[in-house]
Protein backbone atom coordinates (compact mmCIF):
# COMPACT_ATOMS: atom_id res chain seq x y z
CA UNK A 1 0.00 0.00 0.00
CA UNK A 2 2.91 2.31 0.84
CA UNK A 3 4.18 2.33 -2.73
CA UNK A 4 0.71 2.91 -4.17
CA UNK A 5 0.26 5.96 -1.95
CA UNK A 6 3.63 7.16 -3.16
CA UNK A 7 2.55 6.68 -6.76
CA UNK A 8 -0.62 8.71 -6.18
CA UNK A 9 1.30 11.54 -4.53
CA UNK A 10 3.91 11.57 -7.27
CA UNK A 11 1.19 11.69 -9.93
CA UNK A 12 -0.50 14.47 -7.95
CA UNK A 13 2.78 16.36 -7.74
CA UNK A 14 3.28 16.09 -11.49
CA UNK A 15 -0.24 17.33 -12.27
CA UNK A 16 0.12 20.10 -9.69
CA UNK A 17 3.28 21.27 -11.42
CA UNK A 18 1.44 21.40 -14.77
CA UNK A 19 -1.42 23.35 -13.17
CA UNK A 20 0.86 25.82 -11.38
CA UNK A 21 2.67 26.57 -14.65
CA UNK A 22 -0.53 26.55 -16.74
CA UNK A 23 0.36 29.58 -18.85
CA UNK A 24 3.48 27.80 -20.09
CA UNK A 25 2.27 24.23 -20.01
CA UNK A 26 -1.31 24.59 -21.31
CA UNK A 27 -2.11 28.06 -22.61
CA UNK A 28 0.94 28.60 -24.84
CA UNK A 29 0.62 25.34 -26.84
CA UNK A 30 -3.15 25.79 -27.17
CA UNK A 31 -2.74 29.34 -28.52
CA UNK A 32 -0.02 28.35 -31.00
CA UNK A 33 -2.04 25.38 -32.27
CA UNK A 34 -5.17 27.49 -32.63
CA UNK A 35 -3.13 29.98 -34.65
CA UNK A 36 -2.12 27.12 -36.96
CA UNK A 37 -5.77 26.14 -37.36
CA UNK A 38 -6.82 29.73 -38.04
CA UNK A 39 -3.97 30.56 -40.44
CA UNK A 40 -3.73 27.28 -42.35
CA UNK A 41 -7.30 26.12 -42.01
CA UNK A 42 -9.59 29.11 -42.10
CA UNK A 43 -7.40 31.54 -44.09
CA UNK A 44 -5.97 29.16 -46.66
CA UNK A 45 -8.68 26.53 -46.49
CA UNK A 46 -10.84 28.20 -49.12
CA UNK A 47 -7.96 28.26 -51.61
CA UNK A 48 -6.91 24.64 -51.12
CA UNK A 49 -8.89 21.78 -52.60
CA UNK A 50 -10.46 19.16 -50.39
CA UNK A 51 -8.25 16.30 -49.31
CA UNK A 52 -10.23 13.28 -50.43
CA UNK A 53 -13.75 13.92 -49.25
CA UNK A 54 -12.66 16.14 -46.36
CA UNK A 55 -12.40 19.92 -46.38
CA UNK A 56 -8.85 21.14 -45.78
CA UNK A 57 -9.59 23.05 -42.58
CA UNK A 58 -11.12 19.90 -41.07
CA UNK A 59 -8.34 17.70 -42.50
CA UNK A 60 -5.51 19.46 -40.66
CA UNK A 61 -7.15 19.56 -37.21
CA UNK A 62 -6.34 15.94 -36.14
CA UNK A 63 -2.68 16.36 -37.15
CA UNK A 64 -2.36 19.68 -35.35
CA UNK A 65 -3.91 18.26 -32.19
CA UNK A 66 -1.55 15.28 -32.44
CA UNK A 67 1.45 17.55 -32.88
CA UNK A 68 0.52 19.69 -29.87
CA UNK A 69 -0.15 16.68 -27.65
CA UNK A 70 2.99 14.71 -28.43
CA UNK A 71 5.18 17.78 -28.05
CA UNK A 72 3.56 18.50 -24.68
CA UNK A 73 3.91 14.92 -23.44
CA UNK A 74 7.58 14.86 -24.44
CA UNK A 75 8.44 18.34 -23.17
CA UNK A 76 6.66 17.81 -19.87
CA UNK A 77 8.51 14.68 -18.91
CA UNK A 78 11.87 15.76 -20.25
CA UNK A 79 11.70 19.03 -18.31
CA UNK A 80 10.23 17.74 -15.04
CA UNK A 81 12.79 14.94 -14.77
CA UNK A 82 15.74 17.02 -15.87
CA UNK A 83 14.74 19.72 -13.36
CA UNK A 84 14.33 17.13 -10.60
CA UNK A 85 17.80 15.78 -11.36
CA UNK A 86 19.35 19.23 -11.71
CA UNK A 87 17.92 20.49 -8.39
CA UNK A 88 18.46 17.03 -6.86
CA UNK A 89 15.00 16.83 -5.33
CA UNK A 90 14.67 13.63 -7.34
CA UNK A 91 16.61 12.07 -4.44
CA UNK A 92 13.51 12.49 -2.28
CA UNK A 93 11.67 10.21 -4.69
CA UNK A 94 14.51 7.78 -5.35
CA UNK A 95 15.01 7.21 -1.61
CA UNK A 96 11.30 6.64 -1.00
CA UNK A 97 9.64 3.22 -0.62
CA UNK A 98 8.25 3.25 -4.16
CA UNK A 99 8.88 0.56 -6.76
CA UNK A 100 10.71 1.77 -9.86
CA UNK A 101 7.59 1.07 -11.94
CA UNK A 102 5.59 3.32 -9.65
CA UNK A 103 8.09 6.13 -10.15
CA UNK A 104 7.99 5.66 -13.94
CA UNK A 105 4.19 5.65 -13.96
CA UNK A 106 3.94 8.62 -11.59
CA UNK A 107 6.02 10.77 -13.92
CA UNK A 108 4.23 9.42 -16.98
CA UNK A 109 0.86 10.51 -15.59
CA UNK A 110 2.05 14.13 -15.46
CA UNK A 111 2.85 14.08 -19.18
CA UNK A 112 -0.46 12.40 -20.03
CA UNK A 113 -2.40 14.93 -17.93
CA UNK A 114 -0.78 17.88 -19.68
CA UNK A 115 -1.21 16.42 -23.17
CA UNK A 116 -4.83 15.37 -22.60
CA UNK A 117 -5.70 18.81 -21.22
CA UNK A 118 -4.23 20.46 -24.30
CA UNK A 119 -5.92 17.96 -26.59
CA UNK A 120 -9.33 18.48 -24.98
CA UNK A 121 -8.98 22.27 -25.10
CA UNK A 122 -7.99 22.17 -28.77
CA UNK A 123 -10.77 19.75 -29.59
CA UNK A 124 -13.35 21.99 -27.90
CA UNK A 125 -12.07 25.04 -29.77
CA UNK A 126 -11.86 23.16 -33.05
CA UNK A 127 -15.46 21.97 -32.68
CA UNK A 128 -16.52 25.56 -32.00
CA UNK A 129 -14.57 26.98 -34.99
CA UNK A 130 -14.88 24.09 -37.44
CA UNK A 131 -17.29 21.17 -37.22
CA UNK A 132 -14.70 18.45 -36.61
CA UNK A 133 -16.34 15.02 -36.23
CA UNK A 134 -15.24 12.06 -34.12
CA UNK A 135 -16.10 9.11 -36.34
CA UNK A 136 -14.21 6.34 -34.51
CA UNK A 137 -13.91 7.23 -30.81
CA UNK A 138 -12.42 3.88 -29.72
CA UNK A 139 -9.67 4.10 -32.32
CA UNK A 140 -9.09 7.72 -31.33
CA UNK A 141 -8.68 6.87 -27.63
CA UNK A 142 -6.35 3.96 -28.44
CA UNK A 143 -4.22 6.07 -30.78
CA UNK A 144 -3.97 9.02 -28.42
CA UNK A 145 -3.12 6.78 -25.46
CA UNK A 146 -0.39 4.89 -27.31
CA UNK A 147 1.06 8.05 -28.81
CA UNK A 148 1.22 9.82 -25.48
CA UNK A 149 2.80 6.86 -23.72
CA UNK A 150 5.41 6.82 -26.48
CA UNK A 151 6.29 10.50 -26.26
CA UNK A 152 5.99 10.88 -22.47
CA UNK A 153 8.30 7.87 -22.10
CA UNK A 154 10.71 9.34 -24.62
CA UNK A 155 10.65 12.56 -22.58
CA UNK A 156 11.43 10.57 -19.44
CA UNK A 157 14.40 8.89 -21.12
CA UNK A 158 15.76 12.16 -22.50
CA UNK A 159 15.21 13.87 -19.12
CA UNK A 160 17.31 11.16 -17.49
CA UNK A 161 20.12 11.26 -20.07
CA UNK A 162 20.24 15.03 -20.69
CA UNK A 163 23.19 16.94 -19.31
CA UNK A 164 21.70 20.36 -20.08
CA UNK A 165 18.43 22.04 -21.04
CA UNK A 166 19.77 22.27 -24.60
CA UNK A 167 19.68 18.48 -24.89
CA UNK A 168 15.99 18.33 -24.04
CA UNK A 169 15.03 21.09 -26.47
CA UNK A 170 17.33 19.70 -29.17
CA UNK A 171 15.25 16.52 -29.44
CA UNK A 172 12.02 18.54 -29.46
CA UNK A 173 13.15 21.00 -32.12
CA UNK A 174 15.40 18.86 -34.30
CA UNK A 175 13.64 15.51 -34.15
CA UNK A 176 9.99 15.68 -33.06
CA UNK A 177 8.90 18.94 -34.71
CA UNK A 178 10.35 18.15 -38.16
CA UNK A 179 8.98 14.60 -38.06
CA UNK A 180 5.56 16.01 -37.18
CA UNK A 181 5.68 18.51 -40.06
CA UNK A 182 6.59 15.84 -42.60
CA UNK A 183 4.32 13.26 -40.99
CA UNK A 184 1.23 14.18 -42.96
CA UNK A 185 -0.14 16.82 -40.60
CA UNK A 186 -0.79 19.32 -43.41
CA UNK A 187 -1.24 17.00 -46.37
CA UNK A 188 -2.07 13.48 -47.45
CA UNK A 189 1.02 11.53 -48.49
CA UNK A 190 -0.94 10.37 -51.56
CA UNK A 191 -0.22 13.84 -52.90
CA UNK A 192 3.55 13.40 -52.57
CA UNK A 193 5.71 12.34 -55.54
CA UNK A 194 7.95 9.30 -55.30
CA UNK A 195 10.26 8.77 -53.38
CA UNK A 196 8.84 11.14 -50.73
CA UNK A 197 5.69 9.13 -50.36
CA UNK A 198 7.71 5.94 -49.67
CA UNK A 199 10.12 7.76 -47.35
CA UNK A 200 7.17 9.04 -45.30
CA UNK A 201 6.43 5.46 -44.29
CA UNK A 202 9.66 5.41 -42.27
CA UNK A 203 8.46 8.33 -40.16
CA UNK A 204 6.99 6.96 -36.90
CA UNK A 205 4.92 10.10 -36.36
CA UNK A 206 3.22 9.53 -39.70
CA UNK A 207 1.52 6.43 -38.28
CA UNK A 208 0.38 8.24 -35.15
CA UNK A 209 -1.05 11.11 -37.20
CA UNK A 210 -2.85 8.59 -39.40
CA UNK A 211 -4.28 6.69 -36.44
CA UNK A 212 -5.58 9.86 -34.82
CA UNK A 213 -6.93 11.18 -38.11
CA UNK A 214 -8.76 7.89 -38.56
CA UNK A 215 -10.30 8.36 -35.09
CA UNK A 216 -11.54 11.83 -35.99
CA UNK A 217 -12.43 11.52 -39.66
CA UNK A 218 -12.84 7.79 -40.18
CA UNK A 219 -10.25 7.73 -42.98
CA UNK A 220 -6.46 7.65 -43.21
CA UNK A 221 -3.62 7.02 -45.68
CA UNK A 222 -2.81 3.61 -44.16
CA UNK A 223 -4.75 0.86 -42.37
CA UNK A 224 -5.73 1.80 -38.80
CA UNK A 225 -4.32 -1.54 -37.62
CA UNK A 226 -0.96 -0.83 -39.18
CA UNK A 227 -0.97 2.68 -37.72
CA UNK A 228 -1.87 1.45 -34.23
CA UNK A 229 0.53 -1.48 -34.51
CA UNK A 230 3.53 0.67 -35.42
CA UNK A 231 2.70 3.18 -32.67
CA UNK A 232 2.32 0.38 -30.10
CA UNK A 233 5.53 -1.25 -31.29
CA UNK A 234 7.34 1.98 -30.46
CA UNK A 235 5.41 2.89 -27.30
CA UNK A 236 6.02 -0.38 -25.45
CA UNK A 237 9.83 -0.40 -25.76
CA UNK A 238 9.98 3.33 -24.98
CA UNK A 239 8.04 2.76 -21.76
CA UNK A 240 10.14 -0.27 -20.85
CA UNK A 241 13.31 1.73 -21.50
CA UNK A 242 12.14 4.46 -19.13
CA UNK A 243 11.26 1.88 -16.49
CA UNK A 244 14.58 0.10 -16.90
CA UNK A 245 16.37 3.37 -16.20
CA UNK A 246 14.48 3.71 -12.92
CA UNK A 247 15.02 0.03 -12.06
CA UNK A 248 18.72 -0.04 -12.84
CA UNK A 249 19.45 3.48 -11.60
CA UNK A 250 21.51 4.13 -14.70
CA UNK A 251 22.17 7.88 -15.09
CA UNK A 252 19.91 8.47 -12.07
CA UNK A 253 22.27 7.09 -9.46
CA UNK A 254 26.06 7.43 -9.55
Amino acid sequence: MTGYRGLLWLARRETLRVSKLWTQTILAPVVSSILFILVFGLSLGDRIRNVGTVEYDVFIVPGLITMAMVQAAYANNASTIFQARYDRYLNDILSSPMHPWQMTLGFLIGGLYRAFTIGLALFALAVALIAVPVERPVALIAAVSLGLVLFASLGTVVGIFADSWDHTTFIANIVILPLAFVGGVFYSIDLLPSPWEEISHFNPLFYLVQAIRFGFLGESDVSIWLALGVTAALAVPAYLWAQWLFSSGRKLKA
Binding site: G6, L10, R13, D87, N91, I93, L94, S96, G249, A254
Partner: protein
Protein backbone atom coordinates in the same frame (compact mmCIF):
# COMPACT_ATOMS: atom_id res chain seq x y z
CA UNK B 1 7.88 16.44 20.59
CA UNK B 2 6.85 12.88 19.83
CA UNK B 3 9.10 11.44 17.20
CA UNK B 4 8.44 7.74 17.36
CA UNK B 5 10.31 4.84 19.05
CA UNK B 6 12.15 4.58 21.70
CA UNK B 7 14.89 3.63 23.94
CA UNK B 8 17.15 6.01 25.78
CA UNK B 9 20.78 5.33 25.12
CA UNK B 10 23.19 5.09 28.05
CA UNK B 11 25.00 8.38 27.49
CA UNK B 12 28.66 8.44 28.27
CA UNK B 13 29.02 4.68 28.38
CA UNK B 14 32.09 3.21 26.63
CA UNK B 15 31.35 2.22 23.09
CA UNK B 16 31.86 -1.47 23.78
CA UNK B 17 29.19 -1.32 26.48
CA UNK B 18 26.84 0.61 24.24
CA UNK B 19 26.77 -2.39 21.92
CA UNK B 20 25.92 -4.71 24.82
CA UNK B 21 23.16 -2.46 26.19
CA UNK B 22 21.46 -1.97 22.90
CA UNK B 23 21.43 -5.49 21.56
CA UNK B 24 20.60 -6.45 17.97
CA UNK B 25 19.91 -5.60 15.30
CA UNK B 26 21.99 -2.46 14.84
CA UNK B 27 20.32 0.55 13.26
CA UNK B 28 22.84 0.45 10.46
CA UNK B 29 25.28 -2.19 9.38
CA UNK B 30 27.66 -1.96 6.44
CA UNK B 31 29.38 -5.19 5.43
CA UNK B 32 32.27 -4.97 3.02
CA UNK B 33 30.75 -1.99 1.27
CA UNK B 34 32.64 -1.01 -1.86
CA UNK B 35 31.69 1.70 -4.31
CA UNK B 36 33.67 2.35 -7.44
CA UNK B 37 32.24 5.15 -9.60
CA UNK B 38 31.94 4.87 -13.37
CA UNK B 39 35.04 7.05 -13.85
CA UNK B 40 37.07 4.58 -11.75
CA UNK B 41 37.17 6.66 -8.57
CA UNK B 42 36.96 4.54 -5.46
CA UNK B 43 34.41 6.01 -3.05
CA UNK B 44 34.71 3.46 -0.27
CA UNK B 45 36.41 0.08 -0.17
CA UNK B 46 35.46 -2.98 1.89
CA UNK B 47 33.91 -0.73 4.49
CA UNK B 48 32.48 -2.33 7.63
CA UNK B 49 30.51 -0.29 10.14
CA UNK B 50 27.85 -0.98 12.72
CA UNK B 51 25.80 1.80 14.29
CA UNK B 52 23.76 0.65 17.31
CA UNK B 53 20.06 1.37 17.59
CA UNK B 54 19.58 4.63 19.47
CA UNK B 55 23.15 5.87 18.97
CA UNK B 56 24.27 9.38 18.09
CA UNK B 57 27.04 8.52 15.70
CA UNK B 58 29.40 10.91 13.94
CA UNK B 59 31.33 10.45 10.70
CA UNK B 60 34.35 12.67 10.40
CA UNK B 61 36.70 12.98 7.49
CA UNK B 62 38.00 15.43 4.88
CA UNK B 63 36.25 16.17 1.60
CA UNK B 64 36.33 13.10 -0.60
CA UNK B 65 36.80 10.75 2.36
CA UNK B 66 33.67 8.81 1.42
CA UNK B 67 31.11 10.19 3.88
CA UNK B 68 28.53 11.16 1.27
CA UNK B 69 29.17 7.91 -0.61
CA UNK B 70 28.32 5.96 2.54
CA UNK B 71 25.17 7.96 3.10
CA UNK B 72 24.11 7.63 -0.52
CA UNK B 73 24.59 3.87 -0.34
CA UNK B 74 22.34 3.66 2.70
CA UNK B 75 19.66 5.81 1.07
CA UNK B 76 19.52 4.03 -2.29
CA UNK B 77 21.04 6.98 -4.12
CA UNK B 78 24.02 5.17 -5.63
CA UNK B 79 24.57 1.75 -7.14
CA UNK B 80 26.92 -0.08 -4.81
CA UNK B 81 29.72 -2.14 -6.36
CA UNK B 82 29.93 -4.80 -3.63
CA UNK B 83 28.90 -5.46 -0.07
CA UNK B 84 25.73 -5.20 1.91
CA UNK B 85 23.82 -2.44 3.67
CA UNK B 86 21.44 -3.46 6.45
CA UNK B 87 19.08 -1.12 8.27
CA UNK B 88 17.62 -2.54 11.47
CA UNK B 89 18.67 -5.95 10.19
CA UNK B 90 17.02 -5.71 6.78
CA UNK B 91 18.71 -5.00 3.44
CA UNK B 92 18.08 -1.56 1.98
CA UNK B 93 16.90 -3.23 -1.20
CA UNK B 94 13.70 -3.92 0.76
CA UNK B 95 11.24 -1.05 0.31
CA UNK B 96 10.17 -1.37 3.95
CA UNK B 97 13.56 -0.23 5.22
CA UNK B 98 13.37 3.01 3.25
CA UNK B 99 10.53 4.20 5.49
CA UNK B 100 12.86 3.83 8.46
CA UNK B 101 15.46 6.24 7.06
CA UNK B 102 15.23 10.03 7.02
CA UNK B 103 17.84 11.97 5.08
CA UNK B 104 18.77 15.64 5.20
CA UNK B 105 21.35 16.13 2.49
CA UNK B 106 24.18 18.60 2.57
CA UNK B 107 22.88 20.45 -0.50
CA UNK B 108 19.54 22.20 -0.32
CA UNK B 109 17.52 19.93 -2.59
CA UNK B 110 13.97 21.19 -2.20
CA UNK B 111 11.25 20.95 -4.83
CA UNK B 112 11.05 24.45 -6.32
CA UNK B 113 7.37 24.10 -7.26
CA UNK B 114 6.10 23.25 -3.79
CA UNK B 115 5.33 25.45 -0.81
CA UNK B 116 6.71 24.65 2.63
CA UNK B 117 3.55 22.77 3.61
CA UNK B 118 3.33 20.98 0.27
CA UNK B 119 6.99 19.95 0.54
CA UNK B 120 6.23 18.17 3.79
CA UNK B 121 2.88 16.73 2.65
CA UNK B 122 4.24 15.35 -0.61
CA UNK B 123 7.28 13.89 1.11
CA UNK B 124 4.94 12.16 3.57
CA UNK B 125 2.93 10.87 0.61
CA UNK B 126 5.99 9.50 -1.19
CA UNK B 127 6.86 7.67 2.03
CA UNK B 128 3.40 6.12 2.30
CA UNK B 129 1.73 8.28 4.95
CA UNK B 130 -2.04 8.59 4.89
CA UNK B 131 -3.26 12.05 4.01
CA UNK B 132 -4.77 12.91 7.41
CA UNK B 133 -1.65 11.71 9.20
CA UNK B 134 0.59 13.61 6.79
CA UNK B 135 -1.39 16.81 7.28
CA UNK B 136 -1.17 16.59 11.06
CA UNK B 137 2.50 15.73 10.96
CA UNK B 138 3.25 18.56 8.50
CA UNK B 139 1.63 21.07 10.86
CA UNK B 140 3.65 19.60 13.73
CA UNK B 141 6.90 19.99 11.77
CA UNK B 142 5.98 23.52 10.70
CA UNK B 143 5.46 24.47 14.35
CA UNK B 144 8.60 22.68 15.51
CA UNK B 145 10.79 24.44 12.97
CA UNK B 146 8.97 27.78 13.26
CA UNK B 147 7.99 27.89 9.61
CA UNK B 148 4.35 28.84 10.20
CA UNK B 149 4.67 32.28 8.63
CA UNK B 150 6.15 30.70 5.50
CA UNK B 151 3.86 27.66 5.18
CA UNK B 152 2.46 28.89 1.86
CA UNK B 153 5.75 30.09 0.41
CA UNK B 154 7.66 28.12 -2.24
CA UNK B 155 11.16 26.91 -1.37
CA UNK B 156 13.12 29.30 -3.64
CA UNK B 157 11.62 32.27 -1.78
CA UNK B 158 12.83 31.12 1.65
CA UNK B 159 15.96 32.38 3.35
CA UNK B 160 18.97 30.07 3.65
CA UNK B 161 18.18 29.29 7.27
CA UNK B 162 14.53 28.56 6.53
CA UNK B 163 15.50 26.21 3.72
CA UNK B 164 17.88 24.38 6.04
CA UNK B 165 15.11 24.02 8.63
CA UNK B 166 12.67 22.79 6.00
CA UNK B 167 15.22 20.23 4.86
CA UNK B 168 15.47 18.87 8.39
CA UNK B 169 11.68 18.96 8.84
CA UNK B 170 11.28 16.97 5.62
CA UNK B 171 13.77 14.35 6.85
CA UNK B 172 11.76 13.90 10.05
CA UNK B 173 8.34 14.07 8.39
CA UNK B 174 7.70 10.32 8.04
CA UNK B 175 8.97 9.53 11.55
CA UNK B 176 12.13 7.64 10.54
CA UNK B 177 13.96 5.47 13.06
CA UNK B 178 17.35 6.37 11.59
CA UNK B 179 18.07 9.98 10.69
CA UNK B 180 21.03 10.77 8.50
CA UNK B 181 22.24 14.35 8.63
CA UNK B 182 24.88 15.24 6.06
CA UNK B 183 26.55 18.38 7.34
CA UNK B 184 23.28 19.87 8.56
CA UNK B 185 24.86 23.04 9.91
CA UNK B 186 27.16 23.80 6.97
CA UNK B 187 26.97 27.50 6.20
CA UNK B 188 24.42 28.40 8.87
CA UNK B 189 24.84 31.17 11.44
CA UNK B 190 25.57 30.63 15.13
CA UNK B 191 21.98 31.05 16.32
CA UNK B 192 20.54 28.58 13.84
CA UNK B 193 23.31 26.12 14.57
CA UNK B 194 22.46 26.19 18.28
CA UNK B 195 18.79 25.82 17.41
CA UNK B 196 19.44 22.83 15.15
CA UNK B 197 21.70 21.21 17.76
CA UNK B 198 18.93 21.56 20.30
CA UNK B 199 16.37 19.96 17.96
CA UNK B 200 18.72 17.13 17.04
CA UNK B 201 19.46 16.45 20.71
CA UNK B 202 15.74 16.25 21.49
CA UNK B 203 15.28 13.76 18.67
CA UNK B 204 18.06 11.63 20.02
CA UNK B 205 16.71 11.87 23.55
CA UNK B 206 13.47 10.40 22.19
CA UNK B 207 15.42 7.37 21.01
CA UNK B 208 16.01 8.12 17.33
CA UNK B 209 19.31 6.87 15.93
CA UNK B 210 21.28 9.70 14.40
CA UNK B 211 24.12 9.47 11.91
CA UNK B 212 25.81 12.83 11.52
CA UNK B 213 28.55 13.91 9.15
CA UNK B 214 30.21 17.19 9.85
CA UNK B 215 33.35 19.19 9.24
CA UNK B 216 32.92 20.91 12.59
CA UNK B 217 34.92 18.93 15.15
CA UNK B 218 33.29 20.85 17.98
CA UNK B 219 29.89 19.76 16.68
CA UNK B 220 30.94 16.11 16.61
CA UNK B 221 32.39 16.33 20.11
CA UNK B 222 29.35 18.05 21.61
CA UNK B 223 26.71 15.89 19.96
CA UNK B 224 28.07 12.44 19.17
CA UNK B 225 28.48 9.50 21.52
CA UNK B 226 30.72 7.77 19.05
CA UNK B 227 32.79 9.06 16.18
CA UNK B 228 34.20 7.23 13.19
CA UNK B 229 37.15 8.78 11.40
CA UNK B 230 37.36 7.94 7.72
CA UNK B 231 39.92 8.76 5.09
CA UNK B 232 40.25 7.63 1.48
CA UNK B 233 37.14 5.48 1.78
CA UNK B 234 38.47 3.49 4.73
CA UNK B 235 37.68 3.47 8.44
CA UNK B 236 40.66 4.80 10.41
CA UNK B 237 39.28 4.67 13.93
CA UNK B 238 36.05 4.55 15.84
CA UNK B 239 35.41 5.39 19.48
CA UNK B 240 33.98 8.02 21.79
CA UNK B 241 35.72 11.42 21.71
CA UNK B 242 37.53 10.51 24.94
CA UNK B 243 38.53 7.13 23.57
CA UNK B 244 39.89 8.70 20.41
CA UNK B 245 41.91 11.23 22.39
CA UNK B 246 43.42 8.43 24.45
CA UNK B 247 44.10 6.26 21.42
CA UNK B 248 45.82 9.03 19.47
CA UNK B 249 47.50 10.60 22.51
CA UNK B 250 45.96 13.98 21.77
CA UNK B 251 44.45 16.61 24.07
CA UNK B 252 41.74 17.70 21.70
CA UNK B 253 39.61 16.16 18.97
CA UNK B 254 41.35 18.56 16.61
CA UNK B 255 44.64 16.93 17.55
CA UNK B 256 43.11 13.50 16.96
CA UNK B 257 41.85 14.56 13.56
CA UNK B 258 45.20 15.97 12.47
CA UNK B 259 47.05 12.83 13.53
CA UNK B 260 44.49 10.46 12.03
CA UNK B 261 44.37 12.22 8.70
CA UNK B 262 48.14 12.61 8.50
CA UNK B 263 48.69 8.91 9.20
Amino acid sequence: MAVGLRRRSPRGAPSSLIEVFRGDPPALELRGLTKRYDDGTLGVERFDLSVPDGAFFGLLGPNGAGKTTLISAVCNLIRITAGEVLVFGEPTSSLRTRRWIGLAEQDINLDRFLTVRETLLYHGGYFGMERADAEGRADEMIDLFELGAKAGVVAPKLSGGQRRRLLLARALMHRPRLIILDEPTAGVDFELRQELWSTIRRLHADGTTILLTTHYLEEAEVLCEEIALIRGGRLIARDSADGLRRHFGADTLQGVYVKAMAG
